[in-house]
Protein backbone atom coordinates (compact mmCIF):
# COMPACT_ATOMS: atom_id res chain seq x y z
CA UNK A 1 0.00 0.00 0.00
CA UNK A 2 1.41 3.27 -1.09
CA UNK A 3 2.01 6.14 1.24
CA UNK A 4 1.32 4.45 4.54
CA UNK A 5 4.18 6.31 6.20
CA UNK A 6 3.53 9.49 4.26
CA UNK A 7 7.03 9.36 2.84
CA UNK A 8 5.91 9.28 -0.79
CA UNK A 9 3.58 12.25 -0.32
CA UNK A 10 6.38 14.31 1.19
CA UNK A 11 8.79 13.41 -1.57
CA UNK A 12 6.20 14.20 -4.27
CA UNK A 13 5.48 17.56 -2.69
CA UNK A 14 9.21 18.25 -2.56
CA UNK A 15 9.65 17.28 -6.22
CA UNK A 16 6.71 19.52 -7.20
CA UNK A 17 8.15 22.38 -5.23
CA UNK A 18 11.48 21.93 -6.93
CA UNK A 19 9.90 21.81 -10.37
CA UNK A 20 7.81 24.94 -9.91
CA UNK A 21 9.80 27.22 -7.67
CA UNK A 22 13.36 26.11 -8.27
CA UNK A 23 15.92 28.79 -7.49
CA UNK A 24 16.99 30.25 -10.81
CA UNK A 25 20.64 30.12 -11.70
CA UNK A 26 22.27 33.50 -12.26
CA UNK A 27 24.58 34.09 -15.16
CA UNK A 28 27.95 35.78 -14.68
CA UNK A 29 26.64 38.93 -16.32
CA UNK A 30 23.66 39.09 -13.95
CA UNK A 31 25.99 38.60 -11.01
CA UNK A 32 28.26 41.36 -12.21
CA UNK A 33 25.29 43.64 -12.85
CA UNK A 34 23.96 43.08 -9.31
CA UNK A 35 27.36 43.89 -7.87
CA UNK A 36 27.60 47.03 -9.99
CA UNK A 37 24.14 48.19 -8.87
CA UNK A 38 25.13 47.49 -5.28
CA UNK A 39 28.14 49.79 -5.60
CA UNK A 40 26.73 53.22 -4.69
CA UNK A 41 29.70 55.26 -5.94
CA UNK A 42 29.58 53.55 -9.34
CA UNK A 43 25.82 53.90 -9.62
CA UNK A 44 25.87 57.62 -8.83
CA UNK A 45 28.79 58.05 -11.24
CA UNK A 46 26.95 56.33 -14.08
CA UNK A 47 24.01 58.64 -13.48
CA UNK A 48 26.23 61.74 -13.36
CA UNK A 49 28.10 60.73 -16.50
CA UNK A 50 24.85 60.12 -18.39
CA UNK A 51 23.57 63.53 -17.29
CA UNK A 52 26.78 65.20 -18.53
CA UNK A 53 26.52 63.38 -21.84
CA UNK A 54 22.90 64.39 -22.30
CA UNK A 55 23.40 68.06 -21.46
CA UNK A 56 26.58 68.28 -23.55
CA UNK A 57 24.74 67.06 -26.63
CA UNK A 58 21.20 68.34 -26.01
CA UNK A 59 22.13 71.52 -24.11
CA UNK A 60 23.18 73.60 -27.15
CA UNK A 61 19.65 73.32 -28.59
CA UNK A 62 18.25 75.11 -25.55
CA UNK A 63 20.75 77.96 -25.54
CA UNK A 64 20.09 81.20 -27.42
CA UNK A 65 23.78 81.48 -28.47
CA UNK A 66 25.84 79.10 -30.60
CA UNK A 67 29.37 78.28 -29.46
CA UNK A 68 31.01 80.31 -32.25
CA UNK A 69 28.52 83.20 -32.28
CA UNK A 70 29.96 86.55 -31.23
CA UNK A 71 27.82 88.88 -29.15
CA UNK A 72 29.38 92.27 -29.87
CA UNK A 73 27.44 93.93 -27.07
CA UNK A 74 28.44 91.37 -24.46
CA UNK A 75 32.22 90.95 -24.45
CA UNK A 76 33.80 89.76 -21.16
CA UNK A 77 30.48 89.94 -19.33
CA UNK A 78 29.62 88.04 -16.15
CA UNK A 79 26.61 85.70 -16.13
CA UNK A 80 23.58 87.54 -17.46
CA UNK A 81 20.29 85.64 -17.47
CA UNK A 82 18.31 88.28 -19.31
CA UNK A 83 20.52 88.03 -22.42
CA UNK A 84 20.88 84.26 -22.24
CA UNK A 85 24.56 84.17 -21.25
CA UNK A 86 23.92 81.89 -18.27
CA UNK A 87 27.62 81.53 -17.43
CA UNK A 88 29.07 84.71 -18.90
CA UNK A 89 31.06 85.38 -22.08
CA UNK A 90 34.74 85.23 -23.07
CA UNK A 91 37.00 87.97 -24.41
CA UNK A 92 35.48 87.56 -27.86
CA UNK A 93 31.91 87.77 -26.63
CA UNK A 94 31.17 84.08 -27.10
CA UNK A 95 28.86 82.32 -24.68
CA UNK A 96 30.85 80.29 -22.14
CA UNK A 97 28.18 77.68 -21.48
CA UNK A 98 27.80 76.95 -25.19
CA UNK A 99 31.57 76.70 -25.55
CA UNK A 100 31.84 74.40 -22.56
CA UNK A 101 29.17 72.12 -24.06
CA UNK A 102 31.10 72.05 -27.32
CA UNK A 103 34.35 71.32 -25.46
CA UNK A 104 32.74 68.49 -23.53
CA UNK A 105 31.41 67.02 -26.78
CA UNK A 106 34.91 67.19 -28.23
CA UNK A 107 36.42 65.45 -25.19
CA UNK A 108 33.81 62.68 -25.36
CA UNK A 109 34.36 62.24 -29.09
CA UNK A 110 38.13 62.00 -28.68
CA UNK A 111 37.71 59.53 -25.85
CA UNK A 112 35.37 57.37 -27.93
CA UNK A 113 37.47 57.30 -31.11
CA UNK A 114 40.84 56.88 -29.41
CA UNK A 115 39.58 54.20 -27.02
CA UNK A 116 38.10 52.24 -29.92
CA UNK A 117 41.41 52.41 -31.78
CA UNK A 118 43.41 51.37 -28.72
CA UNK A 119 41.03 48.48 -27.94
CA UNK A 120 41.16 47.13 -31.49
CA UNK A 121 44.95 47.27 -31.70
CA UNK A 122 45.54 46.04 -28.17
CA UNK A 123 43.14 43.09 -28.39
CA UNK A 124 44.40 41.86 -31.75
CA UNK A 125 48.06 42.32 -30.82
CA UNK A 126 47.74 40.74 -27.40
CA UNK A 127 45.62 37.82 -28.59
CA UNK A 128 48.04 36.99 -31.41
CA UNK A 129 51.09 37.21 -29.13
CA UNK A 130 49.44 35.10 -26.45
CA UNK A 131 47.98 32.49 -28.78
CA UNK A 132 51.08 31.82 -30.87
CA UNK A 133 53.41 32.02 -27.89
CA UNK A 134 57.08 31.10 -28.11
CA UNK A 135 59.31 33.30 -30.22
CA UNK A 136 56.47 35.35 -31.73
CA UNK A 137 55.29 36.19 -28.22
CA UNK A 138 58.81 37.04 -27.02
CA UNK A 139 59.46 39.44 -29.90
CA UNK A 140 56.02 41.09 -29.77
CA UNK A 141 56.10 41.59 -26.01
CA UNK A 142 59.68 42.83 -26.05
CA UNK A 143 58.48 45.53 -28.44
CA UNK A 144 55.74 46.47 -25.96
CA UNK A 145 58.33 46.63 -23.16
CA UNK A 146 60.45 49.00 -25.23
CA UNK A 147 57.46 51.22 -26.00
CA UNK A 148 56.61 51.27 -22.30
CA UNK A 149 60.02 52.67 -21.45
CA UNK A 150 59.61 55.58 -23.85
CA UNK A 151 57.76 58.73 -22.80
CA UNK A 152 54.66 58.43 -24.92
CA UNK A 153 53.59 62.05 -24.46
CA UNK A 154 56.62 63.06 -26.53
CA UNK A 155 55.42 60.86 -29.36
CA UNK A 156 51.94 62.28 -29.18
CA UNK A 157 53.44 65.75 -29.51
CA UNK A 158 55.60 64.66 -32.44
CA UNK A 159 52.50 63.18 -34.07
CA UNK A 160 50.76 66.52 -33.64
CA UNK A 161 53.71 68.28 -35.24
CA UNK A 162 53.47 65.92 -38.20
CA UNK A 163 49.74 65.68 -38.66
CA UNK A 164 49.19 69.35 -38.08
CA UNK A 165 45.91 70.01 -36.37
CA UNK A 166 43.75 67.46 -38.09
CA UNK A 167 41.70 66.30 -35.09
CA UNK A 168 40.71 62.89 -36.44
CA UNK A 169 44.29 61.87 -37.13
CA UNK A 170 45.26 63.20 -33.73
CA UNK A 171 42.65 61.02 -32.01
CA UNK A 172 43.77 57.99 -33.94
CA UNK A 173 47.35 58.86 -33.04
CA UNK A 174 46.56 58.97 -29.32
CA UNK A 175 44.76 55.65 -29.65
CA UNK A 176 47.74 54.12 -31.44
CA UNK A 177 49.93 54.94 -28.44
CA UNK A 178 47.50 53.87 -25.71
CA UNK A 179 47.16 50.19 -26.55
CA UNK A 180 50.19 48.86 -24.68
CA UNK A 181 48.56 47.97 -21.38
CA UNK A 182 45.56 46.51 -23.19
CA UNK A 183 47.89 44.24 -25.20
CA UNK A 184 49.57 43.03 -22.00
CA UNK A 185 46.29 42.25 -20.26
CA UNK A 186 44.84 40.48 -23.30
CA UNK A 187 48.01 38.44 -23.79
CA UNK A 188 47.93 37.25 -20.17
CA UNK A 189 44.29 36.21 -20.47
CA UNK A 190 44.90 34.48 -23.79
CA UNK A 191 47.77 32.46 -22.33
CA UNK A 192 45.43 30.89 -19.80
CA UNK A 193 42.43 30.64 -22.16
CA UNK A 194 44.30 28.67 -24.79
CA UNK A 195 44.88 25.80 -22.36
CA UNK A 196 41.12 25.25 -21.99
CA UNK A 197 39.20 22.32 -23.43
CA UNK A 198 36.99 24.31 -25.80
CA UNK A 199 40.07 25.57 -27.63
CA UNK A 200 41.31 22.02 -27.91
CA UNK A 201 37.89 21.05 -29.27
CA UNK A 202 38.04 23.84 -31.84
CA UNK A 203 41.50 22.68 -32.92
CA UNK A 204 40.27 19.11 -33.17
CA UNK A 205 37.40 20.40 -35.30
CA UNK A 206 39.95 21.80 -37.73
CA UNK A 207 39.67 25.53 -37.01
CA UNK A 208 42.65 27.63 -38.08
CA UNK A 209 44.57 29.80 -35.61
CA UNK A 210 42.91 33.07 -36.63
CA UNK A 211 39.44 31.52 -36.55
CA UNK A 212 40.18 30.31 -33.03
CA UNK A 213 41.52 33.72 -31.95
CA UNK A 214 38.57 35.72 -33.28
CA UNK A 215 35.73 33.25 -32.75
CA UNK A 216 36.72 31.57 -29.51
CA UNK A 217 39.31 33.62 -27.63
CA UNK A 218 38.34 37.24 -28.22
CA UNK A 219 34.68 36.80 -27.16
CA UNK A 220 35.91 35.32 -23.88
CA UNK A 221 38.01 38.41 -23.19
CA UNK A 222 35.02 40.75 -22.91
CA UNK A 223 35.24 41.28 -19.15
CA UNK A 224 38.82 42.47 -18.81
CA UNK A 225 38.64 44.39 -22.08
CA UNK A 226 35.54 46.32 -20.98
CA UNK A 227 37.13 47.09 -17.62
CA UNK A 228 40.34 48.31 -19.10
CA UNK A 229 38.65 50.28 -21.88
CA UNK A 230 36.61 52.14 -19.24
CA UNK A 231 39.82 52.95 -17.40
CA UNK A 232 41.44 54.15 -20.65
CA UNK A 233 38.73 56.73 -21.40
CA UNK A 234 39.68 59.19 -18.63
CA UNK A 235 43.35 58.79 -19.51
CA UNK A 236 42.63 59.78 -23.09
CA UNK A 237 40.49 62.72 -21.99
CA UNK A 238 43.43 63.88 -19.87
CA UNK A 239 45.87 63.46 -22.77
CA UNK A 240 43.63 65.41 -25.13
CA UNK A 241 43.00 68.22 -22.66
CA UNK A 242 46.73 68.35 -21.97
CA UNK A 243 47.52 68.72 -25.67
CA UNK A 244 44.80 71.33 -26.11
CA UNK A 245 46.08 73.14 -23.03
CA UNK A 246 49.50 73.42 -24.66
CA UNK A 247 47.86 74.72 -27.82
CA UNK A 248 48.48 71.56 -29.80
CA UNK A 249 44.93 70.22 -29.98
CA UNK A 250 41.66 71.28 -31.55
CA UNK A 251 41.56 74.49 -33.57
CA UNK A 252 39.38 77.58 -33.28
CA UNK A 253 36.46 78.17 -33.42
CA UNK A 254 36.03 74.61 -32.21
CA UNK A 255 37.24 74.15 -28.71
CA UNK A 256 37.87 71.58 -26.04
CA UNK A 257 37.92 71.61 -22.27
CA UNK A 258 41.72 71.86 -22.18
CA UNK A 259 41.74 74.88 -24.49
CA UNK A 260 39.03 76.59 -22.46
CA UNK A 261 40.97 76.03 -19.24
CA UNK A 262 44.17 77.36 -20.77
CA UNK A 263 42.36 80.54 -21.84
CA UNK A 264 40.53 80.85 -18.54
CA UNK A 265 43.46 80.41 -16.17
CA UNK A 266 45.36 83.65 -16.96
CA UNK A 267 42.26 85.83 -16.51
CA UNK A 268 40.82 84.13 -13.45
CA UNK A 269 40.94 87.29 -11.31
CA UNK A 270 38.85 89.36 -13.71
CA UNK A 271 36.74 86.70 -15.43
CA UNK A 272 36.57 83.73 -13.01
CA UNK A 273 33.68 82.05 -14.87
CA UNK A 274 35.99 81.42 -17.83
CA UNK A 275 38.08 78.98 -15.80
CA UNK A 276 35.61 77.46 -13.38
CA UNK A 277 32.95 76.40 -15.90
CA UNK A 278 35.16 74.13 -18.05
CA UNK A 279 37.23 73.01 -15.03
CA UNK A 280 34.06 71.88 -13.27
CA UNK A 281 32.88 69.86 -16.28
CA UNK A 282 36.30 68.25 -16.75
CA UNK A 283 36.76 67.27 -13.11
CA UNK A 284 33.23 65.91 -12.69
CA UNK A 285 33.53 63.91 -15.90
CA UNK A 286 36.90 62.43 -14.95
CA UNK A 287 35.80 61.62 -11.39
CA UNK A 288 32.65 59.85 -12.53
CA UNK A 289 34.49 57.89 -15.23
CA UNK A 290 37.10 56.79 -12.75
CA UNK A 291 34.46 55.55 -10.28
CA UNK A 292 32.62 53.74 -13.09
CA UNK A 293 35.86 52.01 -14.09
CA UNK A 294 36.62 50.95 -10.52
CA UNK A 295 33.04 49.76 -10.04
CA UNK A 296 33.14 47.71 -13.23
CA UNK A 297 36.41 46.15 -12.16
CA UNK A 298 35.02 45.16 -8.79
CA UNK A 299 31.85 43.85 -10.41
CA UNK A 300 33.37 41.80 -13.22
CA UNK A 301 36.50 40.66 -11.46
CA UNK A 302 35.84 40.53 -7.71
CA UNK A 303 39.04 38.70 -6.83
CA UNK A 304 41.25 41.42 -8.24
CA UNK A 305 41.08 43.85 -5.33
Amino acid sequence: MAGITGKDATLTAYADALASGAPKGRSLTQDAFRRLIGNKAALVSIFVFLVIMIIAYAGPYFLPWAYDKIDWAGIRKPPDWAKGHYLGTDQNGRDMLARTFQGTQMSLLVAFVATTVSVVIGVIYGAIAGYFGGRVDAVMMRFVDIMYALPYMLFVIILVVIFGRSPVLLFVGIGCLEWLTMARIVRGQTLSLKQREFIEAAKAGGAGPFAIIFRHIVPNLTGPVVIYATLTIPEIIITESFLSYLGLGVQEPQTSLGTLISFGAPVVEALPWMLYTPAFFLVVMLLSLSFIGDGLRDALDPKDR
Binding site: P151, I157, I158, G247, A265
Partner: protein, 307 residues
Protein backbone atom coordinates in the same frame (compact mmCIF):
# COMPACT_ATOMS: atom_id res chain seq x y z
CA UNK B 1 75.41 41.22 -10.96
CA UNK B 2 77.89 43.05 -13.18
CA UNK B 3 76.97 40.74 -16.06
CA UNK B 4 73.29 41.55 -15.59
CA UNK B 5 73.98 45.29 -15.62
CA UNK B 6 76.16 44.95 -18.71
CA UNK B 7 73.48 42.95 -20.52
CA UNK B 8 70.91 45.63 -19.77
CA UNK B 9 73.20 48.40 -21.07
CA UNK B 10 73.77 46.47 -24.29
CA UNK B 11 70.03 46.04 -24.90
CA UNK B 12 69.43 49.75 -24.27
CA UNK B 13 71.83 50.91 -27.01
CA UNK B 14 69.78 49.67 -29.99
CA UNK B 15 66.65 51.24 -28.47
CA UNK B 16 68.32 54.66 -28.42
CA UNK B 17 69.53 54.25 -31.99
CA UNK B 18 66.11 53.07 -33.14
CA UNK B 19 64.39 56.04 -31.51
CA UNK B 20 66.80 58.50 -33.12
CA UNK B 21 66.27 56.88 -36.53
CA UNK B 22 62.48 56.75 -36.35
CA UNK B 23 62.11 60.31 -35.03
CA UNK B 24 64.58 61.68 -37.57
CA UNK B 25 62.85 60.17 -40.57
CA UNK B 26 59.32 60.94 -39.35
CA UNK B 27 60.21 64.59 -38.82
CA UNK B 28 62.12 64.99 -42.09
CA UNK B 29 59.51 63.30 -44.22
CA UNK B 30 56.59 65.18 -42.65
CA UNK B 31 54.95 67.84 -44.80
CA UNK B 32 55.56 71.46 -43.88
CA UNK B 33 58.64 72.86 -42.26
CA UNK B 34 60.22 75.56 -40.13
CA UNK B 35 60.45 77.99 -43.07
CA UNK B 36 56.72 78.00 -43.82
CA UNK B 37 55.97 81.48 -42.55
CA UNK B 38 53.00 83.75 -43.02
CA UNK B 39 54.73 85.09 -46.12
CA UNK B 40 56.30 82.74 -48.67
CA UNK B 41 60.06 83.24 -48.89
CA UNK B 42 61.61 84.10 -52.26
CA UNK B 43 62.93 80.89 -53.86
CA UNK B 44 66.56 82.06 -53.74
CA UNK B 45 66.45 82.69 -50.01
CA UNK B 46 64.69 79.40 -49.41
CA UNK B 47 67.37 77.61 -51.41
CA UNK B 48 70.12 79.30 -49.41
CA UNK B 49 68.41 78.43 -46.13
CA UNK B 50 68.01 74.82 -47.17
CA UNK B 51 71.64 74.64 -48.22
CA UNK B 52 72.73 76.23 -44.94
CA UNK B 53 70.91 73.57 -42.91
CA UNK B 54 71.96 70.77 -45.33
CA UNK B 55 68.29 70.12 -46.15
CA UNK B 56 69.10 69.89 -49.87
CA UNK B 57 71.28 66.80 -49.49
CA UNK B 58 69.86 63.28 -49.89
CA UNK B 59 68.02 62.35 -46.70
CA UNK B 60 70.34 59.43 -45.97
CA UNK B 61 73.38 61.69 -46.00
CA UNK B 62 71.54 64.10 -43.70
CA UNK B 63 70.87 61.21 -41.36
CA UNK B 64 74.52 60.08 -41.28
CA UNK B 65 75.63 63.62 -40.62
CA UNK B 66 73.11 63.97 -37.80
CA UNK B 67 74.06 60.67 -36.13
CA UNK B 68 77.73 61.60 -36.35
CA UNK B 69 76.96 64.91 -34.70
CA UNK B 70 74.92 63.30 -31.92
CA UNK B 71 77.85 61.08 -30.96
CA UNK B 72 80.00 64.17 -30.64
CA UNK B 73 77.34 65.84 -28.49
CA UNK B 74 76.27 68.17 -31.32
CA UNK B 75 72.52 68.13 -31.95
CA UNK B 76 72.69 70.53 -34.86
CA UNK B 77 71.30 74.05 -35.15
CA UNK B 78 67.93 75.29 -33.97
CA UNK B 79 66.06 76.36 -37.07
CA UNK B 80 63.86 78.94 -35.41
CA UNK B 81 65.94 80.34 -32.54
CA UNK B 82 68.69 81.28 -34.91
CA UNK B 83 71.33 82.47 -32.45
CA UNK B 84 71.50 79.13 -30.65
CA UNK B 85 72.33 75.59 -31.53
CA UNK B 86 70.37 72.78 -29.89
CA UNK B 87 73.22 71.64 -27.65
CA UNK B 88 73.54 75.14 -26.19
CA UNK B 89 69.80 75.34 -25.48
CA UNK B 90 69.92 71.92 -23.82
CA UNK B 91 72.92 72.95 -21.74
CA UNK B 92 70.90 75.94 -20.49
CA UNK B 93 67.70 74.01 -19.75
CA UNK B 94 68.79 70.54 -18.68
CA UNK B 95 70.29 71.27 -15.23
CA UNK B 96 67.10 73.01 -14.18
CA UNK B 97 64.81 70.24 -15.44
CA UNK B 98 66.90 67.58 -13.72
CA UNK B 99 66.95 69.54 -10.47
CA UNK B 100 63.17 70.04 -10.58
CA UNK B 101 62.53 66.42 -11.51
CA UNK B 102 64.75 64.88 -8.87
CA UNK B 103 63.49 67.12 -6.08
CA UNK B 104 59.92 66.20 -7.00
CA UNK B 105 60.91 62.54 -7.26
CA UNK B 106 62.40 62.46 -3.76
CA UNK B 107 59.60 64.48 -2.17
CA UNK B 108 56.87 62.48 -3.93
CA UNK B 109 58.38 59.08 -3.23
CA UNK B 110 58.93 59.76 0.48
CA UNK B 111 55.50 61.30 0.96
CA UNK B 112 53.88 58.46 -0.98
CA UNK B 113 55.66 55.76 1.02
CA UNK B 114 54.67 57.41 4.28
CA UNK B 115 51.03 57.90 3.25
CA UNK B 116 50.76 54.37 1.88
CA UNK B 117 52.24 52.81 5.00
CA UNK B 118 49.96 54.82 7.30
CA UNK B 119 46.92 53.85 5.25
CA UNK B 120 47.90 50.17 5.22
CA UNK B 121 48.48 49.97 8.97
CA UNK B 122 45.11 51.61 9.62
CA UNK B 123 43.28 49.62 6.96
CA UNK B 124 39.52 50.37 6.91
CA UNK B 125 39.77 52.98 9.62
CA UNK B 126 39.36 56.72 9.11
CA UNK B 127 43.04 57.58 8.30
CA UNK B 128 42.86 54.99 5.54
CA UNK B 129 39.64 56.40 4.06
CA UNK B 130 40.92 59.97 4.20
CA UNK B 131 44.25 59.08 2.58
CA UNK B 132 42.66 56.98 -0.15
CA UNK B 133 40.37 59.89 -1.06
CA UNK B 134 43.20 62.44 -1.04
CA UNK B 135 45.42 60.18 -3.12
CA UNK B 136 42.69 59.75 -5.73
CA UNK B 137 42.53 63.45 -6.61
CA UNK B 138 45.98 64.06 -8.15
CA UNK B 139 45.63 60.86 -10.18
CA UNK B 140 42.30 61.94 -11.68
CA UNK B 141 42.68 65.69 -12.02
CA UNK B 142 45.12 66.63 -14.82
CA UNK B 143 48.26 68.28 -13.51
CA UNK B 144 47.86 71.47 -15.56
CA UNK B 145 44.55 72.10 -13.84
CA UNK B 146 46.09 71.37 -10.43
CA UNK B 147 48.91 73.76 -11.28
CA UNK B 148 46.50 76.53 -12.27
CA UNK B 149 44.34 76.04 -9.19
CA UNK B 150 47.44 76.07 -6.96
CA UNK B 151 48.61 79.30 -8.57
CA UNK B 152 45.20 80.86 -8.03
CA UNK B 153 44.79 79.73 -4.42
CA UNK B 154 48.31 80.18 -3.05
CA UNK B 155 49.55 82.91 -5.37
CA UNK B 156 46.61 85.16 -6.18
CA UNK B 157 44.14 84.82 -3.32
CA UNK B 158 46.42 84.01 -0.36
CA UNK B 159 49.64 85.72 -1.55
CA UNK B 160 51.73 83.06 0.17
CA UNK B 161 53.88 81.96 -2.74
CA UNK B 162 55.02 83.44 -6.07
CA UNK B 163 52.90 82.46 -9.07
CA UNK B 164 55.74 81.57 -11.40
CA UNK B 165 59.15 82.41 -12.83
CA UNK B 166 62.52 81.50 -11.40
CA UNK B 167 65.96 82.94 -10.93
CA UNK B 168 68.79 81.11 -9.17
CA UNK B 169 68.38 81.22 -5.41
CA UNK B 170 64.65 82.01 -5.44
CA UNK B 171 63.68 78.72 -3.82
CA UNK B 172 60.23 79.97 -2.83
CA UNK B 173 59.39 79.98 -6.54
CA UNK B 174 60.04 76.25 -6.62
CA UNK B 175 57.64 75.23 -3.84
CA UNK B 176 54.51 75.09 -6.00
CA UNK B 177 56.13 73.49 -9.10
CA UNK B 178 57.79 70.77 -7.03
CA UNK B 179 54.58 70.11 -5.09
CA UNK B 180 52.47 69.88 -8.26
CA UNK B 181 55.00 67.63 -9.99
CA UNK B 182 55.42 65.42 -6.92
CA UNK B 183 51.70 64.95 -6.23
CA UNK B 184 50.64 62.47 -8.95
CA UNK B 185 53.87 60.53 -8.47
CA UNK B 186 53.45 60.41 -4.70
CA UNK B 187 49.82 59.38 -5.12
CA UNK B 188 50.73 56.39 -7.30
CA UNK B 189 53.52 55.38 -4.91
CA UNK B 190 51.08 55.64 -2.01
CA UNK B 191 48.53 53.41 -3.76
CA UNK B 192 51.14 50.78 -4.55
CA UNK B 193 52.64 50.88 -1.06
CA UNK B 194 49.23 50.55 0.54
CA UNK B 195 48.30 47.57 -1.62
CA UNK B 196 51.53 45.64 -1.21
CA UNK B 197 51.80 46.47 2.49
CA UNK B 198 48.30 45.13 3.15
CA UNK B 199 49.21 41.98 1.28
CA UNK B 200 52.46 41.53 3.22
CA UNK B 201 50.77 42.21 6.56
CA UNK B 202 48.37 39.35 5.82
CA UNK B 203 51.10 36.75 5.26
CA UNK B 204 51.89 33.88 7.60
CA UNK B 205 55.33 35.01 8.63
CA UNK B 206 53.97 38.34 9.85
CA UNK B 207 51.42 36.38 11.91
CA UNK B 208 54.28 34.31 13.29
CA UNK B 209 56.16 37.44 14.25
CA UNK B 210 53.03 38.78 15.92
CA UNK B 211 52.33 35.55 17.75
CA UNK B 212 55.80 35.42 19.25
CA UNK B 213 55.08 38.81 20.75
CA UNK B 214 56.87 41.35 18.57
CA UNK B 215 55.52 44.90 18.74
CA UNK B 216 53.71 46.43 15.77
CA UNK B 217 56.50 48.90 15.03
CA UNK B 218 59.22 46.28 15.13
CA UNK B 219 57.27 44.01 12.78
CA UNK B 220 56.84 46.87 10.37
CA UNK B 221 60.45 47.98 10.44
CA UNK B 222 62.09 44.57 10.49
CA UNK B 223 59.80 42.27 8.51
CA UNK B 224 57.15 44.10 6.51
CA UNK B 225 58.88 47.08 4.87
CA UNK B 226 61.41 45.34 2.66
CA UNK B 227 59.10 42.92 0.78
CA UNK B 228 56.43 45.60 0.57
CA UNK B 229 58.86 47.87 -1.25
CA UNK B 230 59.44 45.59 -4.25
CA UNK B 231 56.41 46.62 -6.36
CA UNK B 232 57.12 50.25 -5.49
CA UNK B 233 60.71 50.00 -6.72
CA UNK B 234 59.54 48.45 -9.98
CA UNK B 235 57.16 51.39 -10.43
CA UNK B 236 59.89 54.00 -9.96
CA UNK B 237 61.19 53.56 -13.52
CA UNK B 238 57.91 54.32 -15.31
CA UNK B 239 57.26 56.88 -12.57
CA UNK B 240 60.34 58.80 -13.60
CA UNK B 241 59.13 58.97 -17.17
CA UNK B 242 55.77 60.35 -15.96
CA UNK B 243 57.70 62.91 -13.95
CA UNK B 244 59.76 64.07 -16.90
CA UNK B 245 56.74 64.46 -19.18
CA UNK B 246 54.92 66.08 -16.27
CA UNK B 247 57.72 68.58 -15.97
CA UNK B 248 56.90 69.76 -19.52
CA UNK B 249 53.53 70.98 -18.24
CA UNK B 250 54.84 72.36 -14.99
CA UNK B 251 57.61 74.30 -16.72
CA UNK B 252 55.06 75.71 -19.14
CA UNK B 253 52.50 76.71 -16.50
CA UNK B 254 54.98 78.20 -14.03
CA UNK B 255 57.20 79.74 -16.77
CA UNK B 256 60.34 77.93 -15.64
CA UNK B 257 63.55 77.80 -17.69
CA UNK B 258 63.84 74.04 -18.37
CA UNK B 259 64.03 71.97 -21.54
CA UNK B 260 60.29 71.25 -21.42
CA UNK B 261 59.54 74.84 -22.36
CA UNK B 262 61.92 74.64 -25.34
CA UNK B 263 60.30 71.39 -26.40
CA UNK B 264 56.83 72.92 -26.53
CA UNK B 265 58.01 76.08 -28.27
CA UNK B 266 59.87 73.94 -30.79
CA UNK B 267 56.84 71.73 -31.43
CA UNK B 268 54.63 74.78 -31.97
CA UNK B 269 57.17 76.36 -34.37
CA UNK B 270 58.02 73.10 -36.16
CA UNK B 271 61.64 73.61 -35.18
CA UNK B 272 62.68 70.10 -36.18
CA UNK B 273 66.24 70.35 -34.90
CA UNK B 274 65.14 71.30 -31.42
CA UNK B 275 62.25 68.80 -31.27
CA UNK B 276 64.56 66.00 -32.31
CA UNK B 277 67.32 67.01 -29.91
CA UNK B 278 65.05 67.29 -26.86
CA UNK B 279 63.24 64.04 -27.71
CA UNK B 280 66.52 62.13 -27.97
CA UNK B 281 67.65 63.63 -24.69
CA UNK B 282 64.40 62.70 -22.92
CA UNK B 283 64.55 59.15 -24.25
CA UNK B 284 68.17 58.82 -23.23
CA UNK B 285 67.53 60.10 -19.70
CA UNK B 286 64.52 57.86 -19.23
CA UNK B 287 66.29 54.74 -20.50
CA UNK B 288 69.30 55.46 -18.30
CA UNK B 289 67.09 55.90 -15.24
CA UNK B 290 65.09 52.77 -16.06
CA UNK B 291 68.36 50.89 -16.29
CA UNK B 292 69.40 52.16 -12.89
CA UNK B 293 66.06 51.13 -11.38
CA UNK B 294 66.31 47.67 -12.94
CA UNK B 295 69.78 47.15 -11.54
CA UNK B 296 68.62 48.25 -8.08
CA UNK B 297 65.68 45.86 -8.41
CA UNK B 298 67.99 42.99 -9.35
CA UNK B 299 70.09 43.81 -6.31
CA UNK B 300 67.00 43.70 -4.06
CA UNK B 301 65.52 40.57 -5.60
CA UNK B 302 68.01 37.86 -6.71
CA UNK B 303 65.26 36.02 -8.65
CA UNK B 304 65.39 38.69 -11.36
CA UNK B 305 69.14 38.37 -11.93
CA UNK B 306 69.08 34.74 -12.97
CA UNK B 307 66.01 34.77 -15.17
Amino acid sequence: MLGYALRRVLTAIPIVLLTITVCFFILRLAPGGPFDGERALPPDQLRNLRAYYHLDEPIFMQFLGYIGGVFRGDFGPSMVMKDFNVSALIAIGLPFTLMLGFTAFIVGTLAGLLAGAIAAVNQNKWPDYVLVMIVLLPIIIPNFLMANLAQIIFGIYLHWLPVGGYKPGAWLNLVLPVAILAMPHGARVARLTRGSMIEVLGTNYIRTARSKGLGARLILARHAIKPALLPVVSYLGPGLSYLLTGSIVVEQVFALPGIGKYFITAALNRDYGLVLGTTILYVFIILALNLLVDVIYAWLDPKVRYR
